[in-house]
């Protein structure tokens, strides 16, 4: 039957053109929208932290639930670089000890990462004190706070692209990094 082949080709074409291609396009648009959404939410979160000088548990929770609204799974990395002034030390051969060089100092940053910040916001329940609540993570003026967000799961668009193009595509579609200096401190 000569018609059978053309019918099969036609069915494949119809499925591809009427379903797969428009859906792929729609989902790609959705990823773009999520990217802008995640960017604006991250900027909002970081700016409020920079202006306030602390991260309150509800601020962070709010931010997480806003990200969750996009339906993707994200890896969030927060970095708090704490500004420190250290003395400059020098090895003194005659005394065999490190001695501070007077009048000199060193500016350095000490980083604290997501795990420690989250531990402060949402502490492990302590059996002796089960009602202990998380407290705001405080920073000082001059410190730097940076958040970077990357999606972990393959978005629907990536999955369909993999199907159409027939190759493995890396899942990272939404990546945002934003940070800045802390402008105020809580007291």
């Amino acid at each position: 039957m000569p018609n059978a082949l053309s019918k099969i080709v036609a069915i494949f074409l119809v499925v591809f053109l009427l379903f797969v291609y428009p859906i792929k396009n729609e989902l790609e648009r959705q990823d773009e929208t999520s990217r802008i959404y995640v960017l604006s939410k991250t900027i909002g979160f970081v700016d409020s932290v920079r202006n306030l000088g602390y991260i309150a548990p509800d601020m962070y929770e709010n931010y997480l639930s806003e990200l969750a609204a996009t339906g993707n799974l994200y890896k969030i990395e927060m970095v708090h670089a704490k500004l420190e002034y250290l003395p400059v030390t020098e090895y003194n051969h005659s005394t065999g000890q490190y001695e501070a060089r007077p009048g000199e100092f060193l500016k350095s940053y000490k980083n604290t990462y997501t795990a420690e910040i989250e531990e402060c916001l949402f502490p492990e329940p302590d059996p002796l004190n089960p009602l202990e609540e998380g407290k705001p993570y405080e920073m000082r003026k001059g410190d730097y706070f940076t958040v970077s967000v990357v999606n972990q799961n393959k978005t629907m668009a990536t999955k369909i692209q993999e199907m159409v193009y027939g190759r493995v595509i890396s899942p990272e579609k939404i990546f945002v990094t934003y940070g800045g200096m802390i402008k105020d401190e809580s007291d």
Binding site: S6, Y144, Y178, M181, K183
Partner: protein
């Protein structure tokens, strides 16, 4: 020809152009997104620079530390690019910054790339140029302007230097024949108003000239960074220039960075003001306005020219002023519905 054949022919014709368009749209929207992100990042960097640059020194004089400002600026930029310990990429990013300007009360600093010889090798580095003052000159005088009303004047005839505020000069008539302080008959407003317009334009002109110089010069530098972008001063609205010189501030340009692979390049600038000199003022209407039911409403106004603020009853010493809307409200005044 069957319908399916027609459909296949249609697809063969349409598909390539659709795919190409699709690809281009994706790249363009990525470029647009990158641009939004870069604008935000640059704004944050400039904000941080202004924040850490300004310190209030002895006797309430504002001192600016340009090196501190630059440190914060570049630090925030590097943190946003996640290259805090990536020396080579940091140098690359520097190539995209043709010019930075710090606006001080009585002059401005420009940071640009300079070439210099060291051990027989030419090196390129970003460096602050010496402070330039806001200068203006007419037939007889050379002026050094400030962001406020204080001016320093050199008289070419008598070779004397005067230093005072513009309103005192106008009141005392120390500077006969001064163009800067004269009243322009074609513009409404008194001498002070005209002086303010001329002062602002002169300051903007000075800044513009040096910034354009630095950006144009960057075309010679950029080739060493491997940047093939033609650097030129981006369009800055007149209002944005006005905003720059309202106060001590920081101004940064960021150009030539490729945005995705659509052939678009970043071409942005950011302005940060420290909000020290020009605080907002609110004028109180002490006489009150009839509210229509026989009572009086008291308003506070943002400008002295507000028509609701009756010019006929202006007290000789001027309307009482407050710095914050809060203070006005505490004293029982409402915001003016016309100008607030």
């Amino acid at each position: 020809m069957k319908v399916t054949d027609l459909a296949i022919a249609f697809i063969l014709i349409i598909l390539p152009s659709t795919l190409i368009l699709d690809y281009k749209t994706m790249n363009t929207s990525l470029a647009a997104y990158e641009n939004v992100k870069m604008v935000r990042i640059l704004d944050a960097a400039v904000e941080d620079a202004t924040e850490s640059m300004v310190s209030v020194g002895v006797s309430d004089r504002v001192a600016i530390d340009i090196d501190k400002g630059y440190d914060s600026f570049i630090n925030t930029l590097y943190r946003n690019f996640q290259m805090i310990d990536d020396e080579i990429n940091r140098r690359t990013v520097e190539g995209y910054i043709p010019c930075i300007a710090a606006v001080d009360y009585d002059g401005y600093y420009i940071m640009r790339h300079i070439e210099y010889e060291r051990d027989g090798v030419t090196e390129i580095k970003m460096a602050w140029m010496p402070k330039r003052s806001y200068s203006y000159s007419d037939d007889r005088y050379i002026y050094s302007l400030t962001l406020g009303n204080d001016i320093t004047v050199y008289d070419k005839y008598t070779q004397q230097i005067y230093k005072d505020s513009a309103d005192n000069f106008i009141a005392s008539g120390t500077l006969p024949g001064s163009v800067l302080l004269s009243d322009d008959p074609y513009i409404a407003g008194d001498e002070m108003h005209d002086f303010d317009v001329r002062r602002r334009n002169a300051i903007i002109e000075c800044l513009q000239k040096d910034i354009t110089d630095a950006i144009n010069n960057h075309n010679n530098i950029a080739k060493y960074y491997g940047i093939t972008y033609y650097f030129s001063l981006p369009t800055v609205e007149h209002d944005d220039w006005m905003k720059t010189i309202d106060d001590v501030g920081f101004l940064a340009f960021f150009q030539g960075m490729p945005m995705g692979n659509s052939g678009e390049y970043a071409n942005i600038f950011s302005i940060g003001g420290a909000r020290i000199f020009k605080t907002s003022r609110f004028y109180l209407d002490i006489d009150g306005t009839p509210d229509g039911t026989g009572g009086l409403v008291y308003f506070y106004h943002t400008t002295e020219d507000c028509p609701w603020l009756k010019p006929s009853v202006r007290p000789p010493e001027g309307y009482p002023m407050r710095d914050h809307a809060k203070e006005c409200a505490k004293e029982g005044y409402f915001p003016c519905e016309y100008c607030y």
